[in-house]
Symmetry: C2
Subunit: 352 residues, 2 copies
């Protein structure tokens, strides 16, 4: 056997160079010594430019495929509670789960900037691999490109998830009906404020930690507790809860009423938002979901969320109403009512 590589990749002091993206020997070495090792699974080991995958049982039993994708460009790459690698798994697993589907497989496309430290890349890839393992959703195929210094920003990761939704289950943003109940799985604003706290020399007295997490087991628990009663699931990421509710109101052609006092916000997030003049309703979350459920199952559904480690602070936050204007309105803590509009400015760029 010929010796393919004389020198191993210098994962301590080395840097990404253009050769790592050229498709030749250096590319192969990066894939073998870093990506394949971290993500190792039987599908990646096939060693082709794609993966051949077994068909999940639900598909043979009348289920349907689900496909979702997300590009991840968060800055900074590391933040309290997570990093780009973990986020790239969680974000896409959650998009698949929000359709009621069981996530099965991930693809990952890396766009690296020349000069990026290989040690940092290793940290991100290993965090991503750990997140994929924890979620039980393997990265089965991938791709790496390199762009010149100044033409990227360290690392971008685009992931696509494939899953399967069981026969008969219909969940989607257009299915909310007047009388339905809104549940929220926990406090809002944690992710956005955690990332923001790392930027622009902001320092808060207390550490705010990102909520980044894979929500598919929470969704599974909810669906089991309230079969047939879950109409809409959505994770309020970019744009925050306020924008997510407006999207649903528009898709379903309904109005939504929420109760400010019922929406959990951590004190340190609230304080930081107040200090910066931000509204937690528009701050991104990466480990929370909104569930719109039939009022008949709302109690059971809420109990199921609260019984899960990722939903201990779940709350009933409002209801769906008939409204041709499709307004989202909020009863404020001070006894008033105001319209919650879409996010229109850009308070927090590159949050995910």
């Amino acid at each position: 056997m010929k010796k393919d590589y004389v020198r191993p990749l210098d994962l301590r002091a080395g840097r990404v160079d253009m050769n790592h993206g050229a498709g030749g020997r250096a590319s192969a070495q990066l894939v073998e010594e870093l990506f394949a090792r971290a993500f190792d699974n039987e599908f990646l080991r096939q060693g082709n430019d794609g993966a051949v995958l077994p068909v999940p049982r639900e598909l043979l039993d009348g289920g349907r495929l689900v496909m979702a994708c997300d590009g991840h460009v968060v800055s900074p790459l590391f933040f309290p509670g997570g990093d780009l690698g973990a986020l790239a798994v969680h974000g896409t697993v959650n998009d698949v789960a929000m359709l009621g589907a069981r996530p099965l497989y991930l693809s990952a496309s890396f766009i690296l900037e020349e000069g990026f430290p290989l040690a940092d890349l290793k940290r991100l890839v290993e965090s991503m691999a750990a997140a994929a393992r924890d979620a039980g959703v393997p990265v089965v195929t991938g791709d790496t490109k390199v762009v010149e210094q100044g033409k990227g920003d360290g690392v971008f990761i685009a992931t696509t998830g494939v899953g399967v939704v069981p026969r008969g289950l219909e969940i989607g943003g257009a299915l909310a009906r007047p009388g339905d109940v809104l549940l929220l799985s926990g406090s809002i604003g944690d992710h956005g404020m955690a990332v923001l706290s790392q930027r622009e020399s902001l320092e808060f007295e207390t550490t705010i930690t990102s909520d980044t997490a894979a929500l598919h087991t929470l969704v599974a628990a909810l669906l089991e507790a309230a079969p047939g009663g879950v109409r809409v699931l959505r994770d309020p990421t970019r744009g925050g809860l306020g924008t997510t509710l407006n999207e649903i109101a528009r898709q379903s052609g309904v109005g939504i009423r929420i109760d400010e006092a019922a929406i959990p916000v951590k004190p340190q997030v609230e304080a930081a938002c107040e200090f910066l003049g931000l509204d937690p309703l528009y701050i991104a979350n990466e480990g929370k979901l909104v569930a719109i459920v039939d009022s008949a199952v709302a109690g059971r559904a809420l109990a199921a969320l609260r019984a899960h480690p990722l939903g201990t602070e779940a709350a009933r936050i409002g209801e769906v109403v008939a409204d041709p204007h499709r307004f989202v309105q909020m009863d404020t803590r001070f006894g008033g009512r105001r319209v919650v509009d879409w996010l229109s400015g850009e308070p927090l760029p590159r949050i995910c």
Copy 2:
């Protein structure tokens, strides 16, 4: 109904700004007025953060899923014969097809640089939509992020393709056996030299056009003509034919012999390579495939390739041999024999 947007997107003189990636109103507008309109299909119209998809018949009949992804960072974005948008469809459709699979669905993740002209984005998206339509493989879900000026390079597009390989069909880089025959579907080096010709003020006397194309119908024709006889399919993209053959030799644990005189190279590509001191064996292709087939079906397989519009110049270029060193060797036009090594330098960055 409330009027959601007062002003339509300025697709003539407007530019991408950070708001287009914030997940709020501007993001929704970009998706609706550009992406959803160009890619329009029943799955995108579901309007969720992912798509629910019907299960293809092959899967119910013992087939397996295939998943492949590719990030596309080609520079410049527009080149003779194609652009980033078309390439993002072809590259991933081809990765799926090289496993013998029928490509079904694409996801697309866009990473845009602040300040990029919306008119150019529209051109790319419409070209991508046309390529997807021509291939019969719809973009069913997508995502858009925006990074600050100087943190990206116009547009990057990562695509993932899902397909299905019929029951019993086994194709992969590890399946070449001594005695098998190598077929190449056409001339090499066209894509890389077409992109290069647009860079660094190079001007050649004749125009070289990229071969970018979706190869799945060519694969289908080949598989139909030589059932059971196709062992390996691969598209020699980055790294070129030379690197692709080395990958296969390593995966299969075999040697490969090729005949330089049999490898089609267009005269203008050959002249440009000679002028620049490049070897066409290492120049990227985006519309060519290598097929390694059982020698018993080689004649039929070659005829099937030649009968297809994308394979008119197909040629038998060599054979697989037993070789514990897994060398790729080439009989040169001058009667010698030399080793064809992996690409080790980086002659052509950002070719795809």
